[in-house]
Amino acid sequence: MAVKKKFMLTDDLKRNVFNVPEGYFETLQDRLVERVLDAEPQQQLSWFQALRPQLAFAAAFVALVGVGYGGMVLLDHLSAVSDPVDPVSLDDFYASAIGTYNLDEQAVLRVIDEEKIDHSVNTEDIIDYLASTHVSLTDIASLE
């Protein structure tokens, strides 16, 4: 009975069983040089240059949002300025002004009353008021 010979890894099986297309290694060199040269400008590209389009888009977006927000703030401010003054706060202002600047309270109250209520002032009242202040009589006479 024939005994099957056990397989052994021997040196004759070490022969290279693969091959390459003719001239492969020679052309490989040229193709590699080409690829290396192609790759070079990309390597030298700074992060700023590479991201420039995205940065420009982001800057435009931020500018647009900024202009929109600025416009809204400005509109808010303008509408706040044109709002009528709260009469209570105006009274507070007068009260504090009298205290702060040591004003003649009666004179200030008269002015407030004239502003608030009396819109039908006559000439005599004006002359009386002016006479009670430091305005000279010559000036009062010139108004008449």
Binding site: K6, F7, V17, F18, N19, V20, L28, Q29, V33, A39
Partner: protein, 178 residues
């Protein structure tokens, strides 16, 4: 020119392209055959080899000679080849081991394979080994590389490499006996 002189020429010479060309010239064939045994097909080996050298070109400026140039080159080539197989598996949603099955079939119609039936059977047996063991077997059996160099390339201890090679030989002989 020695590896040390080539690296020096790259770093200190006025023309790094020239030094790189000399490195390619010196190592293109050795690295090609190393990669070819891992990825089997010529076209894939060509892709991997080109990517390897592009990586070498872009990293050579940082290579300071802490390891030998040739083990550094082999390490890049091996990693590129393994990454290639991995990407092929994920690209085609193949389960583990199916890439090796695909590679086995390549021997049937590969115009750049010129082995006899026994050699074809040996190559197919090698493809049944786990990936890392396959690389160890190829480097030791076909390239007759020293274990110390293999250790530097694969980042594995000499003892572990010897054990791995021993297991690989046993397994291949068993497979060839079937």
């Amino acid at each position: 020119m020695t590896d040390k002189a080539l690296v020096q020429l790259f770093h200190e010479g006025s023309n790094p392209h020239y030094a790189f060309n000399l490195i390619v010239q010196k190592y293109r064939e050795r690295l090609y055959w190393h990669v070819r045994k891992i990825v089997i097909s010529h076209d894939d080996a060509d892709d991997v080899l080109q990517n390897t050298f592009i990586k070498v070109w872009s990293s050579l400026a940082d290579f300071r000679g802490d390891s030998q140039l040739f083990t550094w080159l082999y390490r890049i080539a091996t990693n590129e080849a393994l990454s290639f197989l991995k990407s092929k598996r994920t690209k085609f949603f193949l389960p583990l081991g199916d890439v090796e099955n695909q590679l086995k079939n390549k021997f049937e119609d590969d115009p750049y394979f010129n082995g006899n039936e026994l050699q074809k059977k040996l190559q197919q047996a090698i493809l049944k080994l786990p990936k890392k063991q396959r690389i160890v077997f190829n480097m030791r059996y076909f390239d007759e590389m020293k274990y110390e160099d293999m250790s530097e390339i694969l980042g594995t201890s000499v003892g572990a490499l010897k054990a791995s090679y021993h297991h690989a030989v046993k397994k291949i002989e068993e497979l060839m006996d079937r």
